[in-house]
């Protein structure tokens, strides 16, 4: 009898637990509520807000949050989510934990990955949008016509960082104006005994920038829209040619000899030391260089230029530390406060933010920090003419770089890379419910 009772108890307990089976991150909600934008300085005494940041971006909101606390009486706690940031945030949100605000890559694929429609607050009618630089207002942060994220800093771009001394030593006085000129210069530098390019297949993720740079003109012409629609794939000539050319250039010897094991750190050191002439990277590399050298040293020796096959189109790739989102937590008071913090950050708090992070201002009427290196201004200036990166325009974000690392290690051909990336893209697009996958 006792045994029976015990068994029944266990079965019931199991049944009850299983009945609770479901995604705890919450039912459909949020999108319908009209956004109310409180005054930037409205009193928020007693309201506590949580802000999630990555290891690399934790110091970014510190000063502006302190200014907000002083102006409103709210309390902002900045919480570091360990790397890999995106995966850990997604996992936490899936288990029901949500902050009020967080850094998030504002691209459609990453907004889909965090299920923006249910988990994030729509930002339509945000008062700061029209104060932003016109070219940045609608650049990113929008999914299916609804704004979910706002840029706070100049978004990342892919381009070529070069060592001015190495260029000068090889008699190159003008930066190349298209890929053909770039390769002519690269071959001249390589022939003179310096590595033309430095790549980091040891860490790996940086490998995806070179092919995307070669793809820039096609990306601008709408290549990713066709991939999203399923009318083109990673194996279509545009992408496959870019991958193949990258592979050929590596085989030709235009890259560092330790390409297979070199890391992101090595990449920074090599360009500063002039061991390599050029590095194809995004703004994460800028941060890396700033950590390794002073503003004066950078202004003296490192330059930046955008490039594409036919011209000088940069490729835009907004990343996690460039943008913030607010979460649909279900607590109306905190949601309104989170929106108010965003208005404050992009409004009265913006000068504080720009000054404390040595950043370029993206709000008209707010001056850049005087400490900004020329290099950062050059990078920011390229934003007037950009092509979208895979991350910015594709509906899903496959691990192109992992497959490229396989190729650099001679275990995949360019065709294999394209095929494997496409298959992962299709899998992610299917999970995201994209029509046709």
């Amino acid at each position: 009898m006792k045994k029976f009772a015990a068994t029944t108890a266990i079965v019931t307990a199991l049944g009850l637990t299983l009945a609770g089976c479901g995604d705890p991150s919450g039912a459909d909600a949020g999108a319908s509520a009209p956004a109310e934008w409180a005054d930037q300085n409205a009193d928020l005494s007693g309201v506590e807000l949580t802000f999630w940041a990555a290891q690399s971006s934790v110091s970014v909101p510190e000063e502006v949050a302190a200014a907000f606390e002083e102006a409103t009486g709210a309390e902002v706690t900045i919480e570091v989510i360990p790397d890999s940031y995106e995966a850990n945030v997604q996992t936490r949100v899936a288990t029901g934990a949500k902050p009020d605000l967080a850094f998030w890559q504002p691209t459609p694929s990453m907004l889909t990955a965090i299920n923006a429609k249910n988990n994030l607050l729509p930002l339509d009618g945000a008062p700061w949008v029209e104060t932003m630089e016109p070219s940045l207002q609608d650049l990113t942060g929008i999914l299916d016509g609804t704004r979910y994220a706002t840029l706070v800093a100049s978004p990342s771009v892919i381009g070529v960082y070069y060592n001015k001394d190495v260029f000068a030593a090889n008699g190159i006085s003008e930066v190349p104006q298209n890929v053909d000129e770039l390769l002519t210069d690269a071959r001249a530098i390589e022939a003179a005994g310096t590595d033309a390019f430095f790549e980091m297949a040891g860490d790996g993720w940086g490998t995806q920038w070179f092919p995307q740079m070669l793809l820039a003109d096609d990306a601008k012409a709408g290549f990713w829209d066709e991939v999203n629609a399923g009318t083109k794939t990673f194996s279509s000539p545009e992408m496959l040619d870019a991958i193949t050319e990258y592979d050929d250039l590596i085989t030709e010897g235009l890259f560092n000899d330790d390409i297979k094991t070199a890391t992101f750190n090595d990449q920074g050191a090599a360009l500063l030391a002039g061991e390599a002439a050029m590095v194809v990277q995004n703004n994460a590399y800028m941060t890396q260089l700033q950590a390794m050298a002073t503003t004066d040293e950078l202004d003296a020796s490192i330059g930046f230029f955008p490039i594409s096959r036919e011209g000088t189109t940069a490729t835009s790739i907004p990343d996690q530390s460039n943008a913030i989102v607010a979460f649909n937590t279900g607590d109306a008071e905190r949601q309104a406060a989170a929106r108010q913090f965003m208005s404050f950050w992009m409004g009265e708090g913006y000068p504080t933010f720009v000054e404390s992070t040595n950043a370029v201002s993206i709000v008209t009427g707010v001056e850049n920090s005087p400490e900004v290196p020329q290099l950062v201004l050059d990078i920011h200036a390229t934003l007037t003419d950009t092509a979208p990166s895979m991350q910015a325009a594709a509906v899903a974000n496959p691990d192109l770089w992992l497959n490229l690392v396989d190729m650099i290690n001679d275990v995949k051909t360019p065709e294999d890379v394209a095929k494997a990336t496409q298959s992962q893209f299709a899998e992610l697009a299917k999970a995201a419910g994209v029509a046709g996958f």
């Binding site: 006792k2 015990a6 266990i10 307990a13 199991l14 637990t17 299983l18 089976c21 479901g22 995604d23 991150s25 919450g26 039912a27 459909d28 890999s84 995106e86 995966a87 997604q90 996992t91 949100v93 899936a94 889909t112 990955a113 965090i114 299920n115 249910n118 297949a201 040891g202 790996g204 330790d258 297979k260 094991t261 691990d399 992992l402 690392v405 396989d406 650099i408 290690n409 001679d410 275990v411 995949k412 494997a420 298959s423 899998e427 992610l428 999970a431 995201a432 419910g433």
Partner: protein, 307 residues
């Protein structure tokens, strides 16, 4: 062995003992432990089966049952089989290295001298160390500009810059050795316990029969530590099938995914928000480990039967 005499009286004694035990310890004393087991082990395992048949992901709130879709798309995808092959190779290598190192250590440190006791403690330290710490330390040692190459450069007088973790063929072997190094202390302890149970009489009889020291080891002691071998091989093999931390810390699955064992593959898929697919993979890993465990343990058990 036909001359078993011990069990018979024991059987007679056992019953009354059990009855008293039951009176002293009512079944519900088990409840707290059982509750923890259910919540943290049984329920997740059941969920592991349930979610594998759904489309759970970070992309949407609804979780729909989609049948065996996840399984078929995983089987079509070559990455799964490749990961499985790498995992098996890794587990077999770990089992071999860990037992070889452990047995050699146990034989060297068998005598109970002070030096040996201290040495045993030293070799046991890696077992209690954090696996991630071990992984990161070895990663630093084996870098092209790491300590190992610096030592080699010093000894050979040339500049050695071998990328120890850079080969798509040999890195798996090196990582398996690191795993074995970390756990060899535990194998050593189990082998030592096994060696201690061999009675001196048996050894003396062998010596009197004129057995050489090699014969004494191979024909007498090795068969007699059968249970220790079963335990060590099974735990090393099945434990390393579930490996993750050491590989993640040393190579992260690289170079070119040549060390991407199953759990790293699961981790990567989970990180992309494809929770159902990741669950399906871990279910498959569970099945593979279970399918492997029974024959391996059965085979090792049969070996023991000669005792």
């Amino acid at each position: 062995m036909a001359t078993s005499y011990a069990p018979a009286p024991a059987k007679v004694k056992r019953r009354p003992e059990m009855v008293t035990e039951r009176k002293i310890h009512p079944w519900w004393f088990l409840a707290p432990a059982f509750a923890v087991l259910i919540v943290f082990f049984l329920v997740p395992t059941v969920y592991n089966f349930v979610y594998a048949f759904t489309d759970w992901s970070s992309f949407k709130s609804q979780i729909n049952v989609i049948g065996t879709d996840n399984f078929s798309s995983l089987l079509e995808n070559g990455t799964l089989l490749k990961s499985l092959r790498i995992t098996l190779a890794y587990a077999v290598m770990v089992a071999i290295f860990q037992n070889l190192f452990g047995l050699l250590l146990a034989l060297f440190l068998e005598k109970d001298s002070t030096v040996n006791r201290a040495a045993r403690v030293v070799f046991f330290i890696p077992v209690v160390m954090s696996a991630l710490a071990v992984g990161y330390i070895f990663q630093a040692l084996l870098k092209p500009e790491g300590a190992l190459n610096q030592i080699l450069s010093f000894v050979t007088g040339q500049d050695v810059t071998i990328a120890w973790l850079g080969s798509t063929t040999w890195t798996l072997v090196i990582v398996a050795m690191i795993h074995a190094w970390k756990w060899m202390g535990l194998s050593m302890l189990v082998y030592l316990a096994g060696l201690k149970t061999i009675s001196d009489d048996v050894m003396e009889a062998a010596r009197l029969d004129g057995a050489s020291s090699w014969q004494m080891f191979w024909k007498v002691r090795f068969p007699l530590i059968g249970p220790a071998i079963t335990f060590n091989v099974a735990t090393a093999l099945l434990g390393s099938m579930n490996g993750f931390d050491i590989v993640q810390a040393t190579t992260g699955g690289g170079p070119a995914r040549s060390t991407e064992i199953f759990n790293i593959f699961v981790f990567r898929t989970f990180g992309q928000g494809l929770y159902a697919q990741a669950t399906t993979m871990s279910l498959l890993l569970f099945v593979v480990v279970a399918v492997l465990a029974f024959p391996v343990i059965g085979m090792l058990r049969r070996r023991e039967e000669v005792l």
